[in-house]
């Protein structure tokens, strides 16, 4: 016997009034039961439960009151009392499916799967049509380790309720565990074909494909499922979550916006949304979202970390550092907050290299590690070596531009290259890597330990890390050791990796002079010239004549990321502008497309007495357009303490010299290396006064600047900075030296 309160067309209060009157008048058990349920609905559960207890005592043969009591207590989280109530209901009616299912769920939650199992077997026997009993039986069987039977139970649940996504997802998980994923995928394809309007098989196959690392196919399956049920929040969440972890940021952003519209309270969706916006360089929006999530949710370390990243990218260094430190205080044993701090500090003014090294070492110390592996690589010092390149960005990206030419010119008789990176796709630089590599493995979806084990299986002799602690980096895998020799190179190469398992850092005499070695945990592996080889893009525009004189007074420029623009740097630039009447400063980066951010920057100059009209803020653009905009610039100003890397190379290629002031950290010395390597060491200055003086002097001697500009591309092209064959030989010699060192030392 079941009883549902009849409340149609009435408010809870009205229904409650009617029921109370009726119960008082008739004292009918059914009316009293309805009253109890209505009390619960109306927010008076205590009153409802009292009624249910009275009814239960009054009618000891009726299982409905204790069942309802159990439900009420369970929804209040009072599981132990709920269990007693269900036990009472089952004592009165041992085959009531609702009681069996609810009591089994409580057993399962209390880690008593055997007891749950008995009840569910009974339930499935008496009410085989109850899909949730089969589903719960599956979960119970999984808990007792019977994967095959669990899969069968989920299959029955799905068969009886083919539109329940959760049942289908349980079955997917069971098939993975039982090793029958391929069969499940084939079955889902048939199910989708048989019922093309049902989104569930499509969604389930999407989840299964994703688990198999087949991300693009997974996205397609979920796109189709979402098309069939566009208003379902669970599907929208699955779809958006998958896209958020793919390179397709624009699609991810749109999908996340849709999913959030369907479920605005989900903090995970909003965190994902912010993360995707950051990848789209929309840091101001991301920061706003994350702040709102924190306000609503209270402190959370991972959200604080994301917020710190968004904040540093807006050039708010002190605030970002404070956020990272709050995350550390919340979660002191975790690696992520330490990593966040280590990624923020290189941008912060006044942070010495020792502080940076220690922050990086603290991060590295918190990465999980297994026992040190034994490498069986043959110790022949002169044999051909297998060289692994570990990176998420072997493509059109600073890592690609600064390393591809070096690998292309590495002696193929001495080195065979394996790329450990997501698939190359159509990206032109990625295709160059694909052309030079002997093998290409996608590490996406592999755990760090699994990646390390695979890499050892591939027989890699040297692994070069090109990702660092960036989003696409796999430093945690390197902590497990992929190869006997591990080397840090470009790719979030802000400073030392701090990782004890990183044997070397590829550098040069300008980046890491002997007096700075103590700030590194690795040994320096110095190349003969600069530590990178710039590969200028074939589509770079021609260099226009010096704009100064043609379009007015001198124009200074900085096309670096806003994260690098510090209050200190800004003060120095303001000084330069004060001493160069009429001169302008063009700042260009993605973040400046946001008007409030640009206004804030101009206001900071105004606070130094510089008329804001002298500051031109430009947002992001395509790469070729960016290069072309150097034709508006006479002299580039390097930010500090985090200097330009690829940006400085590009300025040089476009005929624009850069004034730079290196510090102690690796990140502060990129420009010094590139300029020295290209024969422009006279643009590298040791302190602020000489930074200002160098920029002012350059602006005062336009003929010299014009002459330099006219010949700069040819000079750079002929210099070691762009001499790929020379670089390849130097790189090969350095790698060979590192290998010989390993052979000799063990």
């Amino acid at each position: 016997m079941t009883a549902e309160p009849v409340l149609d067309g009435l408010s809870h209060a009205e229904a409650l009034g009617l029921l109370r009157a009726a119960a008082a008048r008739t004292a009918s058990p059914l009316t009293c039961l309805n009253l109890a349920i209505a009390e619960e609905h109306a927010g008076c559960p205590a009153r409802g439960r009292r009624l249910l207890r009275e009814l239960a005592a009054l009618l000891p043969g009726w299982d409905e009151p204790p069942l309802r009591l159990g439900q009420s207590l369970r929804s209040a989280g009072r599981n132990a009392e709920a269990a007693l109530a269900y036990d009472e209901a089952l004592a009165r009616n041992p085959i009531r499916p609702e009681s069996l299912i609810a009591r089994a769920a409580l057993h399962l939650a209390a880690a008593e799967p055997e007891s749950a199992h008995l009840m569910l077997i009974r339930c499935c026997g008496v009410a085989p049509e109850r899909a949730e009993a089969w589903d719960l039986l599956g979960l119970t069987l999984q808990a007792t380790g019977d994967e095959k039977l669990a899969e069968t139970a989920f299959a029955e649940a799905s068969r009886r309720a083919p539109r329940r996504l959760d049942y289908a997802l349980h079955r997917v998980e069971a098939s993975k565990r039982a090793g029958t994923a391929d069969a499940e995928l084939a079955r889902l394809a048939l199910a989708a074909a048989a019922d093309p309007l049902n989104p569930v098989p499509l969604a389930a196959s999407g989840v299964l494909l994703h688990r198999d690392g087949r991300r693009e196919q997974a996205i397609e399956a979920l796109e189709a499922a979402v098309a069939l049920a566009p208003d379902d929040p669970a599907l929208a969440r699955l779809h958006a979550g998958l896209l958020a972890r793919s390179p397709r940021v624009a699609s991810a952003e749109a999908a996340l916006a849709r999913a959030i519209a369907l479920d605005p309270a989900d903090p995970a969706l909003r965190n994902d949304h912010a993360a995707v916006l950051m990848r789209m360089h929309r840091h101001a929006e991301a920061r706003e979202i994350l702040q709102a999530v924190l306000d609503a949710q209270g402190p959370d370390a991972s959200i604080l970390c994301n917020l710190a990243n968004a904040t540093v990218n807006l050039g708010l260094h002190a605030e970002a550092e404070a956020l990272a430190r709050r995350a550390i205080a919340l979660s002191p044993a975790a690696a992520l907050p330490r990593r966040t701090l280590a990624n923020v500090l290189p941008y912060c003014p006044g942070v010495g290299a020792a502080v940076l090294r220690d922050a990086l070492a603290e991060t590295a110390a918190r990465l999980p590690r297994g026992p040190a592996p034994i490498h069986a690589n043959s110790r022949d010092p002169d044999r051909k070596l297998r060289l692994g390149l570990l990176s998420g960005t072997l493509k059109t990206h600073p890592v690609g531009w600064l390393t591809v030419a070096g690998f292309e010119t590495l002696d193929p008789a001495g080195f065979a290259v394996t790329c450990l990176s997501p698939p190359a796709g159509a990206d032109p630089i990625a295709r160059r890597f694909a052309a030079l590599a002997e093998a290409w493995h996608d590490p996406t979806g592999l755990t760090d330990a699994a990646l390390a084990e695979r890499a050892r299986g591939w027989g890699l002799d040297i692994v070069i890390d090109l990702g660092g602690y960036g989003d696409a980096g796999r430093m945690a895998a390197l902590a497990h050791r992929l190869a006997p020799v591990q080397i840090k190179w470009v790719g979030m190469q802000t400073h030392s990796s701090g990782l004890p398992e990183m044997d070397w850092i590829l550098t040069d005499r300008w980046e890491t002079p002997p007096e700075l070695e103590r700030f590194y945990t690795e040994r320096p592996l110095r190349l003969a010239d600069g530590y990178v080889c710039y590969s200028p893009p074939p589509y770079a525009p021609d260099i226009a004549p010096l704009p100064a004189g043609r379009t007015g007074p001198v124009t200074f420029g900085c096309f670096n990321n806003l994260a690098k623009i510090t209050a200190d740097g800004l003060a120095v630039w303001a000084d330069i502008l004060r001493r160069t009447p009429g001169a302008r400063l063009v700042l260009k980066c993605h973040q400046l497309a946001d008007a409030p951010t640009a206004d804030r920057l101009r206001a900071a100059f105004a606070a130094h007495g510089i008329d804001p009209v002298r500051i031109e803020c430009r947002g992001g653009s395509g790469h070729r357009t960016l290069l072309g905009e150097y034709n508006d610039i006479d002299v580039a100003l390097d930010p500090f303490p985090y200097s330009g890397g690829l940006t400085t190379c590009e300025a040089l290629w476009m005929g624009v010299p850069t004034v730079t002031m290196p510090g102690e950290s690796f990140a502060s010395r990129h420009s010094a290396s590139h300029l020295s390597n290209a024969g422009l060491a006279d643009w590298v200055v040791p302190d602020r006064d000489r930074y200002v003086a160098r920029a002012v002097a350059a602006a005062a001697d336009l003929p010299a600047l014009a002459a330099l500009r006219a010949g700069l591309r040819a000079q750079v092209k002929a210099s070691p900075l762009c001499d790929a064959p020379r670089f390849g030989r130097s790189l090969g010699a350095a790698l060979r030296a590192a290998w010989r060192d390993w052979c000799a030392r063990r």
């Binding site: 093309p196 049902n198 399956a221 189709a224 098309a227 049920a229 021609d542």
Partner: protein
């Protein structure tokens, strides 16, 4: 979690299918199309979607079947006709395609795409004047459609009006500044006119505007190489390689320029890429170039009449690198049947199949086919195919092994320029084809076991009115 209730709107789903096809998400499109089919009765819109999906999946036979049924049900639907014209075009069925396109233009005279398809087909059917008329209307309606502009220029060039074609492309470039395909077409046209300075200027303008891909740098290298500026050409090829390191066309061009070590034959992907790209234009192009080899083969066979010796036919015949079947077309009325063709390029084979003269056609590598066990041939044809081989010994030896005694092999080769001092036995020419000396061809043929019955200098074709020198060889297995 609640049960998922899907009550989608079929029109919305159809739009999603279209978007998914455009995004290359064919599996998703297939799944959603199945839902559309469940929700809506069969009709032209669904058939069109299904056909587009099949085209995107490379299943032209499925698309054709879908459209045949849909057109039969609704013969007055212009969209279906246009789409079927496109499918038939892809399948090399030019005349039926043209009929569909013409029907579509009649049914919907304001639609530019039907005129454009008809124009392209007219070019390919050797009727450039009609093509120009159709395409000019399409371009007038949509002057910023780069595909129409390129097709109009191609039609004008096919009709000999290369100046007009260049003007058309220049106007198109001015309207569609970012389109690299138009830039490449203009550079290619200049190269075909042997106006290498103009080609360089066009390519440089594109480079300066930042509208340059691997192909453009490859063409620039080609133009510079023809101007004798080999160092500059090497730079251009280097840029081409950076942008398209895997592009077989670029790699072959670069190898031809001597920047990469050259192989001893053109790579199969190169041959396939070149001819897939040109499949639809190949035949008119060669005929317009005064392609003489099929005629030379026919004259040689009529002179030798090998069928007289056997008393029956001279076949079976194997046509190596049969392409669109031009040699077969020239010879198929002679007693040389059955005629079997082999080529690397499926679209060329589709055109050969449309001629209905081959007993079999295979998409395969020549050396692989010759290496297979099988019946011996009485006649092997190698028309304009040895130019994709450097060293000839493998192909000649393999062919010899598959011939019956008394059988003939007819070959054409390209030769070094008559004034080239001391040419090597073979080398890769700047056009990406190999040239061979007569002495080398004779030596290798004899080494393979052939008796050389004839080795005559013959012009192969004309490029920009200049004869391309070559050889006609008649080799007999004793």
């Amino acid at each position: 979690m609640d049960t998922l209730a899907a009550a989608p709107d079929p029109d919305h789903l159809a739009r999603r299918v279209r978007e998914m096809i455009d995004n290359g998400q064919l599996n998703a499109a297939r799944a959603v199309l199945a839902a559309v089919r469940r929700l809506s009765p069969p009709g032209p819109a669904t058939a069109e979607l299904a056909a587009r999906l099949a085209i995107a999946a490379g299943q032209s036979d499925v698309a054709a079947a879908e459209l045949d049924a849909a057109v039969a049900a609704d013969p007055g639907h212009a969209g279906l006709r246009r789409l079927r014209a496109d499918v038939r075009h892809r399948r090399g069925e030019h005349v039926p395609a043209a009929i569909d396109a013409a029907e579509a233009v009649v049914l919907d005279p304001h639609d530019a795409s039907g005129k454009a398809i008809l124009g392209v087909l007219m070019t390919e059917l050797g009727r450039p004047a009609d093509a120009v008329a159709c395409l000019a209307e399409a371009v007038a309606a949509e002057p910023a459609n780069p595909a129409y502009v390129e097709a109009l220029a191609a039609a004008q060039a096919a009709g000999g009006a290369t100046d007009l074609a260049a003007e058309t492309l220049a106007a198109g470039i001015a309207r569609c500044l970012g389109r690299v395909d138009l830039r490449n077409a203009a550079v290619l046209l200049a190269i075909r006119r042997r106006d290498f300075a103009a080609a360089e200027a066009l390519a440089e303008a594109a480079r300066r505007a930042g509208i340059a891909d691997a192909c453009l740098f490859g063409l620039l290298g080609h133009a510079l190489s023809c101007l004798g500026r080999h160092a500059d050409a090497a730079d251009a090829y280097d840029a081409a390689l950076k942008l398209g390191p895997h592009d077989p066309y670029v790699r072959h061009l670069v190898a031809a320029a001597g920047t990469l070590p050259g192989g001893d034959r053109a790579p199969s992907p190169y041959v396939r890429a070149v001819f897939e790209g040109y499949a639809n234009r190949f035949e008119p192009h060669l005929v317009a170039l005064g392609y003489r080899v099929p005629g030379l083969f026919r004259a040689a066979l009529l002179r030798l009449a090998p069928w007289n010796a056997t008393g029956e036919g001279a076949g079976p015949t194997l046509d190596l690198g049969c392409g669109t079947g031009l040699a077969g077309l020239a010879l198929h009325d002679l007693p040389i049947r059955p005629l079997h063709g082999v080529d690397l390029a499926p679209r060329m084979l589709a055109q050969a199949a449309a001629k209905g003269i081959y007993a079999s056609l295979r998409e395969a590598d020549i050396l692989a086919v010759l290496a297979e066990p099988g019946p011996d041939y009485g006649l092997i044809l190698a028309a304009d195919v040895l130019c994709y081989f450097g060293a000839l010994d493998p192909v000649l030896q393999a062919a010899f092994a598959r011939m019956r005694p008394g059988g003939l092999m007819l070959v054409s080769t390209e030769s070094p320029a008559p004034d080239e001092p001391d040419p090597p036995p073979w080398r890769l020419g700047p056009q990406g084809r190999f040239v061979h000396t007569a002495a080398y061809l004779r030596t290798e043929a004899e080494a393979a076991g052939f008796a050389v019955r004839c080795l005559a200098a013959e012009t192969q074709r004309f490029e920009n009115d200049a004869p391309v020198p070559g050889l006609l060889g008649i080799l007999a297995r004793p």
